[in-house]
Symmetry: C2
Subunit: 354 residues, 2 copies
DNA sequence: GGCCAGCACTCACTAGAGTGGAGTGCCAAC
DNA sequence: GTTGGCACTCCACTCTAGTGAGTGCTGGCC
């Protein structure tokens, strides 16, 4: 039964992160099994796994060692083992990054991007749905920040009642707006004069680098409006991560846990866009791709794992993809899907920015 | 104990939707109690309620009658009663519309709208959060449709690569965009010429009433671009309900049910914007304010009730507020909150449109 | 020294019996 | 029509085996 498969593993280097080859194989088998069944895994279920050509007794003693070392744990004595966060961590590290996506998934991704149309926000939104479908996780998509996008057009539109709208079109196709208050004596002429000056001031400049002030025009009212417009532009340039998060498939969290209280607390986190965006940012900043259990500091997500993948637009990390699931999520699938979708999304966004 | 309070009810007209005064009082007491406790209500818990100055034995026989008539049901023999959908319906009808909001809630609403700032989308989003906080329900806010909003500004911005963006600013401060493909030979001149013609064509017109075609300009390329721009404008005028729904507090659904499967199916519905928007639309169209259980046709929401409230902008029903909770939701609170917030939101939007 | 069959042990899970209590329906009396 | 009294029902809870998956240990074997 276990004849050919093992050779590869038997001859692998002995030290694989403190674990000998067989222990690693057993750990992987436990993790894989548990991800599939969500049931504690006994020694008997592991003996047939590749790389484990020993009896259940030997597996037991190895499992005991793995438990001593903190990779596995028992819900109670005389139950099977389930992986600890450390166990999942080993499993994930040993995967060595995303593998290929299964053909069905690849097909689904291809179809999606072939038919993806419409505006960028719509596409990001749908992408989160696609990822959720592919992985059965909750998907988070953070759109590219507009900080460095070049201003293609600025417009000042009066709305009446001392209110005007600064409308900016950026090179990546994003449209931003910000309302400003007008001084009492600002009429159409002032608005159009100020609009013209804003165009001269900001056109062709990255949003975050719009200069703080423009020269005087001779008309103090115009100067006031221009100043307000510049302030509005600059405030749009600050990436507050507020308006660019798309969460898809949050209902999957309900399927992932059977404690309704866990579901509630996870959903509560997901409602806080700022928390989610900075969480993903933090994980990326620590250089991780997967954050398991307590590794990210967010307490209510202690029983969750997060897979993050940067989305590169023209070679620059611009957006982020995140997948949220229980710690026993399907890591190989999640990693593969995140990579493939991230790459394709990046390509798409790069094309659009060109 | 029950002396003064009853007189009002004792002298009420005998037929209140097929129920005599005392039965109605008992039904109301059961509903109120059950909304608070989520536990089946026994005859003993009802004898102290206003309008019920009889013994538990009498209450029992009335309850039996109410069950025969379909207002109450028993989870099992020898358990207390819980209201049926019909029972909730009677309760809600007898409320006769929204009552006043409690002072704390009023205060919260006032504070919110005093400090509400920023763009319309942001405000709608935050409004959904406010409603969820007030009522402990999931809140849905459908923004005003832009069909009838007057075009304040049209702009054609080239994005390179045979792509341009039609950017429309509407009188209510909304900004819409739609990308169009350009013919091979469209250069900056064509773009600006076409942009100018679009302005002439659409400015001051309600979005849904933009005429289908403009006269020829003499330059076939310009005509092509203008046609594409008009098509884009008209497509924006179609209220597909896609981009104007804001759902807040979906985590509250997890707290409302203890069956995780129910939570999952409800969340799945909430993820389908189109379904939610048309559901609210349907309920409003049937002239209801509250849809209980099976009254709306959506099967996965059979254990939910929905409170809807139109939001009037300048006297015209423009947006919608919806509250989703379990059938045993706090109807008086939900109705009061929806009314107050809906009114204030309407005022706010009317101001902005002026 | 590493591996393994055998064995005693642990403990969640299930089913069944017993009990308490909340609640009902019915009835005779007022 | 209303009420107190009473027998009855049935859930929720507890307790008690019994079962079985799974463990740790041990002594013998290669």
């Amino acid at each position: 039964m276990t004849t050919d498969d093992d050779r590869r593993l038997d001859h692998a280097p002995p030290g694989d992160g403190d674990l000998d080859t067989r222990k690693a194989a057993i750990l992987n088998a436990v993790v894989t099994e548990y991800i599939g069944s969500a049931l504690p895994v006994g020694s008997q279920h592991v003996v047939d796994a590749p790389g484990v050509s020993v009896s259940s007794a030997t597996v037991r003693s190895d499992m005991a060692a793995l438990e001593r070392d903190g990779y596995l744990t028992q819900p109670h004595t005389s139950a099977g083992r389930i992986p600890t966060d450390k166990g999942y961590r080993f499993f994930v590290d040993q995967l060595g990054g995303p593998g290929p996506l299964d053909p069905g998934g690849r097909q689904q991704v291809r179809q999606f991007f072939d038919h993806a149309h419409g505006e960028i926000e719509e596409m990001l939104e749908h992408t989160s749905g696609l990822l959720a479908d592919l992985t059965d996780c909750t998907a988070m998509v953070v759109g590219p920040s507009h900080e460095s996008a070049v201003v293609r057009s600025v417009q000042l539109v009066g709305l009446g009642h001392r209110l005007a709208l600064v409308v900016v079109v950026l090179a990546d196709g994003a449209v931003q707006k910000q309302s400003i208050e007008l001084p009492e004596d600002a009429d159409e002429t002032v608005l159009s004069e100020a609009g013209g000056r804003l165009v001269v001031h900001a056109l062709g400049t990255p949003l975050a680098q719009v200069a703080t002030s423009a020269g005087p025009s001779g008309n103090p009212t115009v100067d006031l409006v221009v100043a307000a417009g510049i302030a509005a532009l600059r405030s749009l340039g600050v990436a507050d991560g507020h308006d660019q998060l798309f969460v898809g498939g949050s209902s999957r969290m309900a399927a992932a846990f059977d404690a309704v209280e866990t579901v509630r607390s996870v959903l509560t986190i997901l409602e806080q866009q700022l928390v989610v965006v900075s969480l993903l940012r933090d994980i990326l900043d620590t250089g991780l791709t997967v954050a398991i259990g307590a590794e990210h500091g967010v307490e209510p997500l202690a029983s969750c794992a997060i897979v993050v993948m940067p989305v590169s637009v023209d070679g620059v990390e611009a957006g982020t993809i995140g997948l949220l699931g229980p710690t026993r999520m399907n890591y190989p699938l999640a990693l593969a899907a995140a990579r493939v979708v991230g790459d394709r999304l990046g390509e798409r966004l790069s094309e659009a920015a060109r």
